[in-house]
Symmetry: C2
Subunit: 185 residues, 2 copies
């Protein structure tokens, strides 16, 4: 009798609730794919950046590569790790579209999403700080703007930040979506 | 009859569930207070950093302040904003200890926690990138390590990162805790 009563109460509002939960899960999958493209693009754009200047002295050829600066290496690593994580999380996201009432798998996703959000933000903003320095330099610390010489290098590294920052926004929305799905149970 | 049945089903497992939820909410409050102390300490430590070297030429007195570098100003602002947010979120956290079944207020907290996590991580890691540069310099970009001259300045700015990074870990745990409380409904 008890079981029946609860089941009745559930079925009366089930189709709509399931529809919203399924919509949430599909949106989750789309956001995950977009974040994946963003981080992959950022990692590739930064990882393939190098510029050789068309003049050189006897001893030095002027050349700039992303891994001249450890921060950019960290940026590539962070984006790659988050990208791999997103690929691995896609099957779980698809499971959530089918099994809309899953709870603990969503909880695990939220935790790792938050950790990956922190990693991605760390990489992107550390790189942004160095890119800013490359553009503007700093008079007080006597650090010169290197973008005057390495122009296309600078454009490339600045551009590669965009995908990463877009992915950060996606990740925040992903956390919210998973939490929203949990709150609706 | 239906209402009664559901109520019966709830009361049988209610005391334990409520106890766990209350424990989660208390842990949430403690983590929030710790993160608050971390960000406040970081903001104050960085904001009060300056060093005047004991020698000067006719024209220049050698002096280093945190706001010589825009990244450190951003670090102070980010930490202050997160600190104010944490203060404002404490009343809500206390409400959750009393009303353990609150759902949508937890959802709002998760969203803002995630956004603040991103802001705090951005500030902390941008500052970390510059601190790293101040310590090590970069030969390829011709940026010199300034820590040889400004020794105590560098120690202070390095130290002020600790509170921020500790707060980042607290924020990740806070998001997980709120999601855990939602999953248990």
């Amino acid at each position: 009798m008890k079981g029946e009563a609860i089941e009745q109460g559930e079925t009366s509002r089930a189709p709509m609730a399931r529809g919203i939960n399924r919509g949430t899960s599909i949106l989750d999958l789309i956001l995950r794919l977009l974040a994946l493209i963003g981080t992959l693009g950022s990692a590739i754009a930064m990882g393939t950046t190098n510029e050789t200047l068309p003049f050189f002295t006897q001893f030095i050829q002027f050349k700039a590569e992303y891994n001249d600066l450890p921060t950019f290496t960290f940026f590539v690593v962070a984006n790659s790790v988050v990208c791999v994580y997103l690929v691995l999380s896609i099957p779980l996201s698809i499971v959530h579209i089918i099994k809309t009432r899953a709870r603990y798998s969503r909880l695990i996703l939220i935790f790792f999403d938050a950790a990956m959000l922190a990693l991605l933000t760390a990489g992107a903003s550390a790189a942004a700080a160095i890119v800013y320095l490359a553009h503007k330099g700093n008079v007080r610390a006597n650090w010169f703007a290197i973008c005057q010489q390495f122009n296309s290098f600078c454009e490339r590294i600045s551009g590669s930040l965009i995908g990463s920052f877009a992915a950060i926004i996606m990740m925040i929305l992903l956390i919210f979506l998973s939490a929203f799905a949990l709150a609706r149970h």
